[in-house]
């Protein structure tokens, strides 16, 4: 195993907050920046990473066949056509009879370490067996959440479990931020979420309709140089992961002019 390979878990606890979208976009962004990257879909019960990457028709084998030695790792890896630095490995398929164990996931991670510099592990929702399997393959983690009470609560549970497993560092991506609602204090502020979860902020993604368009097409936003806000946010997450110093702008504070002044005035404490 190449010593410098990074194994990064992408998890949230709650479903539907953007784990798989982040994994797909981050994978493409890292590959574009020249990093040999593997995305491991640890959510084999309800796998979707293939669909978001547009690779759904090209999966033949999974990690399970590799472990059973019915095929070689290289045969199971699905290389992205436009970004050959990126390869997808599904952990298993929903019909498989034998479920993978944490040791299986460790073995697969070690094999991927020979070929890749970064392994992104797309974690299933929940904190049951699928989560434990995914954690077994990881060393560090990105927790993604939205500024909603249920998502933050579930993220907190997951962070507790990651701490127990010795995963470090754990960083936060805040997804589906609505700047206007935040400025009107009808959405948890960025600092509220980072204070409550006590994690460093790795990225901030505003709500962006282009995300839906890109999933429809199976082409992650970071693939074709889109300059939509979410595309830029994902690209910046990739750069920060690699150690670049890219400042994070809080979009609810960013607004200029009279409206921003009024908004600040309205938020001053009078009592």
């Amino acid at each position: 195993m190449a010593a410098e390979t990074r194994y990064i878990l992408i998890c949230s606890g709650k479903g539907g907050v953007g784990k798989t979208t982040l994994t797909a976009n981050l994978g493409i962004a890292l590959a574009k920046q020249g990093v040999r990257t593997a995305v491991l879909d640890a959510d084999f019960g309800l796998r979707n990473l293939d669909l978001l990457l547009g690779l759904e028709n090209r999966i033949v084998y999974t990690a399970q066949e590799v472990l059973a030695e019915t095929c070689r790792l290289e045969q199971a890896l699905v290389k992205h056509k436009q970004q050959p630095n990126l390869a997808l490995l599904p952990a298993g398929n929903p019909r498989m009879l034998e479920w993978l164990t944490p040791d299986d996931m460790k073995a697969i991670a070690a094999m991927l370490g020979d070929l890749f510099e970064v392994v992104l592990i797309d974690c299933p929702a929940g904190i049951e067996d699928g989560f434990k399997n995914a954690v077994a393959a990881a060393r560090e983690a990105i927790v993604i959440t939205t500024p909603e009470v249920s998502a933050v609560r579930d993220a907190d549970r997951v962070i507790g479990l990651l701490n127990t497993e010795g995963i470090s560092p754990i960083q936060l991506v805040l997804n589906r931020v609505r700047p206007k609602m935040m400025a009107n204090q009808d959405m948890l502020a960025v600092s509220d979420v980072t204070d409550i979860l006590a994690l460093p902020l790795l990225g901030l993604v505003v709500e962006d309709e282009q995300v839906i368009v890109s999933t429809n097409r199976g082409e992650p936003l970071t693939l074709n140089g889109s300059n939509s806000p979410a595309a830029q946010a994902y690209t910046n997450v990739a750069r920060r992961l690699r150690g670049d110093d890219v400042p994070i702008v809080d979009p609810s504070q960013e607004r200029q002019g009279l409206r921003a002044k009024i908004s600040r005035l309205m938020n001053t404490k009078i009592f």
């Binding site: 609560r153 962070i159 009107n184 009808d186 948890l188 409550i196 001053t268 404490k269 009592f271």
Partner: protein, 99 residues
């Protein structure tokens, strides 16, 4: 409890107050309980016993008093806020007095 200009105007106009602060308060409370993993019954029992012990030494205002969980920076604390009405005349046992 703090009030912003926005809250004041909302109140005057009979509008609902901005919800972010409510969300934050509710989250902090629920996370304090999630993180401590104490079940509510146990917490209730502990609360009763703490009040009982403290009441032996001072007379408490039980209507105002509260023992609850609070959380900050992923550390959960048991916070007791027990307003004292007056001290009781407690005779220290011999052993404790000597210590």
């Amino acid at each position: 409890m703090s009030l912003t200009l926005r809250d004041a105007i909302n109140r005057l106009l009979g509008r609902q107050p901005a919800s972010a602060s409510t969300a934050k308060q509710r989250l902090q409370l629920v996370l304090a309980h999630d993180r401590s993993d104490l079940n509510p019954e146990l917490l209730q029992q502990m609360r009763r016993e703490i009040l009982e012990v403290v009441s032996r030494y001072v007379e408490l205002d039980l209507d105002e008093g509260d023992v609850s969980l609070a959380t900050e920076d992923r550390v959960t604390a048991l916070v007791a806020n027990l307003p004292i009405k007056r001290a009781r005349d407690v005779v220290l046992p011999a052993s404790a007095a000597g210590a």
